[in-house]
Symmetry: C3
Amino acid sequence: MTVDTRFYAPLGALTLETAAALTGAQLIGEASSPITGLASADQAKAGEIAFLEGDASAKPTLSPHLSVVIVNEATSSLVPDGVSRLIARFPRHAHSTVAKALFQPRHLSGGFGTQAVAASAQIHAGASILPGAVIGEGAAIGEGTVIGPNAVIGPGVQIGRNSVIGAAASVHCALLGDHVTLLAGARIGETGFGVMAGPSGAEDAPHYGRVILQDHVTIGANACIDRGVFGDTIIGERTKIDNLCQIAHNVVLGRSVVVAAFGGISGSVRVGDGSMLGGRVGIADHVVVGEKVSLAASAGLFRDVGPGETWGGTPAKPIRQWMREVAWLNKQASTRKRD
Amino acid sequence: MTVDTRFYAPLGALTLETAAALTGAQLIGEASSPITGLASADQAKAGEIAFLEGDASAKPTLSPHLSVVIVNEATSSLVPDGVSRLIARFPRHAHSTVAKALFQPRHLSGGFGTQAVAASAQIHAGASILPGAVIGEGAAIGEGTVIGPNAVIGPGVQIGRNSVIGAAASVHCALLGDHVTLLAGARIGETGFGVMAGPSGAEDAPHYGRVILQDHVTIGANACIDRGVFGDTIIGERTKIDNLCQIAHNVVLGRSVVVAAFGGISGSVRVGDGSMLGGRVGIADHVVVGEKVSLAASAGLFRDVGPGETWGGTPAKPIRQWMREVAWLNKQASTRKRD
Amino acid sequence: MTVDTRFYAPLGALTLETAAALTGAQLIGEASSPITGLASADQAKAGEIAFLEGDASAKPTLSPHLSVVIVNEATSSLVPDGVSRLIARFPRHAHSTVAKALFQPRHLSGGFGTQAVAASAQIHAGASILPGAVIGEGAAIGEGTVIGPNAVIGPGVQIGRNSVIGAAASVHCALLGDHVTLLAGARIGETGFGVMAGPSGAEDAPHYGRVILQDHVTIGANACIDRGVFGDTIIGERTKIDNLCQIAHNVVLGRSVVVAAFGGISGSVRVGDGSMLGGRVGIADHVVVGEKVSLAASAGLFRDVGPGETWGGTPAKPIRQWMREVAWLNKQASTRKRD
């Protein structure tokens, strides 16, 4: 998991010793080893720091390349010998402290002329920047693309050709392909919702990932696509998302997926190509949905669904079972009033 | 269905022959006949091109004035003799190709001074345009109306007297009456959600209609009212819509309708005067709801409801039946555990 | 209930006689008594005008300090002797007429330089105001706080230190503490959804309260927190609210409450410290939820819940009962098809 330095400015590598001092953690390992990046424990490469929460009964998947991890007293035993560890009371919180010392999010800053476009932004001569738009340092806007009035394009954002960014929409920490459409007020690349325990109570977990919108993706008005925690949130080619949808961090939607209004897809969900989600469908985190699945309007899905299936209801089940339940209940309640 | 040229610039009439060439369709009819407008098949007037999808079992309502229509091999048989037809594999997609050759959406462009108000916009001396607002060509803003900070008013939009447009709200392709209130971030007149099949996969169907907000309408913060496909989305006098609602293309709401937060009304739904929709009510497309209907919070309605009724549940049913089911299920599951 | 004059400019006290003339109401009481403020009937202090709607069967709680109230013919009998009253057909509507004569919401107006920051705004030298931001008269922005691009800060708004206001977000009639985060497009302090009867039909009830966001509060992208009617909407320290949530007027959330995406909390609800609301949870108005309560995703809650409980379903019930119902229905509909 390589943090994209277009969105997060590297502040230089840390040693394990420095990380231990920053977090008050106990160090087991080589004090002078460098920490160069951030990752989740299942994806870490050498030098990338990860964390493990929970208790000793957890069965985390660990990357074979994991070299340093923040644990608590309980999860320390889950780490193979030879992996350096920092032992802390709140591993995720300690990890965020190290993260903030390694990378700093790039905010908009100077370099603006009267048009509110940063001097270092690369705007194709065939692009249109409408009044009130703000474009950050190092952003790139391709030929034929229109940045709508009062839209905000964050530092480092890359947008391809013939895309349209709607009025007052905002894009941060994201790469957009060609023919991408964002309707008015869409919010791409905000930090995801992750509440972690810290010494003073609930805190927001920082996010270092990105959003990728592939070619011909359309995002509805006031819809939100959060960026990944360490990796990316990915919306596949020709996928169409309606107004007021919420797509959480690290979600991966395939190609030509359709998500109707108020669709809510929780963290790390995967949805296969060509699946259709009716209005107000919700999917719980980490659920895997196959290709060409249909979910009926207002379904609340808490389990994986295989390819080609149609489910409905809350909690969602195969549509025939759901319809049978609806019909059966209707009949019983109508005829057995004196039960 | 006359396309409003304040929002869509006419590019000149086409002949059937040209339309056939643009779309690769087979032409049956008079090659030199002009196409002057766009419509749905049930509303078309002479010279307005429509389309028919599906198969031969469809029973479309056809306007008696229909003169030219795009069909596929199957639906060709549904069209009366004497109506010209273009036979294409993807009729709706071909229709959108013709539409784009007939009309071009007006985008914001030049004519802006330092205030980001187009020179051709007509702003009443008694209106207030707050900092950061952007107002497009040919827009008109009436006496006593306030355009909020960083709001966006698209080309041709007409707003009456004593209306208030909230901070960062946006309005396109719309006519607003007097005493209309949009709270912050409301999105009026974005393109509706219509995914059509095309030769390369899913594509967005273009929208050529408008939004009409009658006098004393209020639209909540971050709520969305999509414009019609060919006709209009209409919100009747004194209708009040809460935050984060979604009103789809071609919906018609009557007078004094109340829609609480997260209300979701799908395409072409009609709701009668004085109806009350509780929080998180959803209505499936083309459903017709009578006057003074009450829908309980979180109802999911898939069927027409007559005037004066109260329904609840998902799928929604008369409220007494729903409450009976809820009570019966509660009792059964409590007492018959060993069934 | 003291109206905060940073947000509402006082227009001077009225006498009862003037109020009666403005509203066409019948006056019973001392004509020359002054009306100096606004309140609900249960909170009014001397000189603050309140109202009572409904019929004689209502059992309103009345403040012992209530000195003047607008009633209808039916509710007049509920008011103790010695309290002045105005008798009107639409008490809430008449109250709003008096309110508008007492206080005028402060809108953005003059005093702007090229940066769209009002001359009277107090911006700490260590704060960052990004391009396109608009800041109103009398607003105050603390050290280390960042006002995002195209964000809007209304007149009189107070924001503490090290807070971050996201792109295109808006804040009105609100006090924000330190380390408060608003993601892009969040809408703080809009008028709540209150539809009142008036002589011409449905009208919006005006709101004169505020929003208080305590230290370390985070509000998600495009989420909405409405201001109170007369009192305040309060979000407690370290409470975290996800994208696209709706928090209505006069809600009080405790400390470290977590509200996942699409949470909808109706007017005057109270939620205790440390409670967790899953995605798409809805709570009906005036419901009281204890401390450390868990509500499962998509729960629709219509009743009070005591501390430490876990509820789910719609209408929500204790989670074991809900799961038992789900399992029982599944079993019955599977095995008794011929019932």
